[in-house]
Amino acid sequence: MPGATFRIWRGDAAGGAFADYSTEVTEGMVVLDAVLRIQAAQAGDLAVRWNCKAGRCGSCSAEVNGRPRLMCMTRLSELPLEQPVTVEPMRAFPRIKDLACDVGWNYEVKKRIRPFKPRPPDAPDGTWRMAQADVERVQEFRKCIECFLCQDVCHVLREHAKHQEFIGPRYFVQVAALEMHPLDAEDRLAELGQTQGIGFCNITKCCTRVCPENITITDNAIIPLKERWIDRHYDPIRRFLGWLRLKGGAGSGP
């Protein structure tokens, strides 16, 4: 059976280095299979997170040959196996051990986003009516499996470590999902520019490219949010029109 070499980063927060492991390659194998095979036979304490093994839970994020990927969805047949396959942990987060890193920051950011607040129910039985057309836009964002690959590839976090001023693509997707939710009545635009740092995004679309769920993060979530934020802060004309309409509406009342 053919083999391949895997150059896996071993170490912890204090430092580490790549170590080479060879293992057999069988049909249909993915990078996670190789890593788990190495773990079972050669390196019992090799730290790696995984769960569903079907691209559904977003646990096995790592960088394979320099690209942020889900290990369970990266087939070996798409990699050049003449050279060693490098597997290293995500770089935008502190390291714990080997391929596992501390993604706790993401959970803290999530807590800071204002939660969903629905409008009063539409029907007497306490339910709402929504059109599929309006639901679909948000359903795209809700496909997110929180693998944090978009956070990892985003240079604002990865290279510039703006973790304190910038919430990252994943959470713009979440804010977009809430802001565009047909039922939501909360206003999150004030934070968007201030504490969430949407201005740091310079739309290089790396997040969209790595998303394993194919969410069009930049075009469908971040740019529309930027536009909504611009409505609020940089568009006097629309504000004026809105004001006129408000006055007109009030004037035509009884």
Binding site: A13, E63, N65, G66, R67, P68, P80, Q83, T86, E88, R91, A92, F93, P94, R95, W105, E108, R112, A131, A133, D134, V153, H155, V156, R158, E159, H160, A161, K162, H163, Q164, E179, M180, H181, P182, D184, T195, G197, G199, F200, C201, N202, I203, T204, K205, C206, R209, V210, T218, D219, I223, P224, K226, E227, R228, I230, D231, H233, Y234, D235
Partner: protein, 268 residues
């Protein structure tokens, strides 16, 4: 907000990456093509001559507010124009489409990579530690994109008018104007289609026609417009490059005719 600075791994050096592909190819391509376009369009705009031939007007010079060709709206160069300032009809108007492209969401991402290496490419080390994003002057002005969009929409009308005019050829001998179709007409028509595709696929337009609503299904016309713009928007990058190339080619086509370096072919 978490106060502690996260103990991240040391950032990579400029250009350092584990990527195996030719990651520098796309940003380099952007750099070369955009630079070539900027150089050519600047040169062409400063010429102030050879921008019209017969019924054709170069898109770089349209609308010709003041100028010497038959397309001029308000006659020749205004008397109040300071004599020390170089005059070209293009300089009066070119800032608008230029600004539209400069602040375009697609081009921004592309030229931040190609010209400023911020980042050079996804998951590749950067040259600078410092980063402000689009949070402060001058890049905060990128948020004015929608104003350029309003102007760009007007330009589409004007350029469409130019195509209409390019269908009417006057015979220098008799002075009679006849309906006709030349290669130049088609060049200008394709230009409007591509620029239209680029303008109507704009992210700001997508937001304004319907994206700003949470419940768009209750406004059927806006719903349809939103779907249309969204559909075009998926190919915004393609529209951007195609229209960029073609608008420059349109100028070259008219310029060559005007210089007499090639001649227009009339279908009828």
């Amino acid at each position: 907000m978490p106060d502690a600075v996260l103990p991240l791994p040391e950032p990579r050096r400029f250009g350092e990456t584990q990527r195996r592909d030719v990651w520098w190819l796309a940003p380099l391509g952007t750099f070369i093509v955009l630079l070539a376009f900027v150089l050519y369009s600047t040169w062409a705009a400063f010429q102030g001559d050879h921008y019209a031939w017969g019924p054709y007007l170069s898109p770089f010079y349209s609308p010709e507010l003041f100028g010497y060709s038959q397309h001029s709206w308000f006659g020749p160069k205004p008397v109040w124009w300071p004599s020390w300032l170089l005059f070209s009809p293009a300089l009066l108007i070119l800032w608008a489409p230029g600004g539209f492209r400069l602040t375009c969401y697609y081009y921004r991402g592309a030229y931040y990579k190609g010209f400023w290496a911020d980042p050079p490419s996804c998951a590749v080390g950067e040259p600078r530690k410092h980063y402000l994003g689009e949070n402060s002057f001058p890049l905060i002005l990128q948020n004015l994109h929608r104003y350029f969009l309003y102007l760009a929409l007007l330009f589409i009308l004007v350029l469409a008018g130019d195509v209409w005019k390019a269908l009417w050829f006057s015979d220098p001998a008799t002075g009679r104007t006849t309906f006709g179709l030349g290669v130049g007409t088609l060049v200008l028509a394709v230009n409007v289609v591509l620029l239209g595709g680029y303008t109507f696929s704009c992210h700001s337009l997508r937001h304004l026609v319907g994206g700003c609503l949470d419940v768009v299904s209750r406004a059927p016309i806006r719903c349809r417009a939103y779907r249309c713009v969204s559909c075009l928007n998926r190919r915004h990058m393609l529209w951007a490059w195609a229209s960029l190339f073609w608008v420059a080619f349109s100028d070259i086509y008219v310029r060559m005719l005007s210089l007499g370096l090639w001649s227009d072919w009339r279908f009828f």
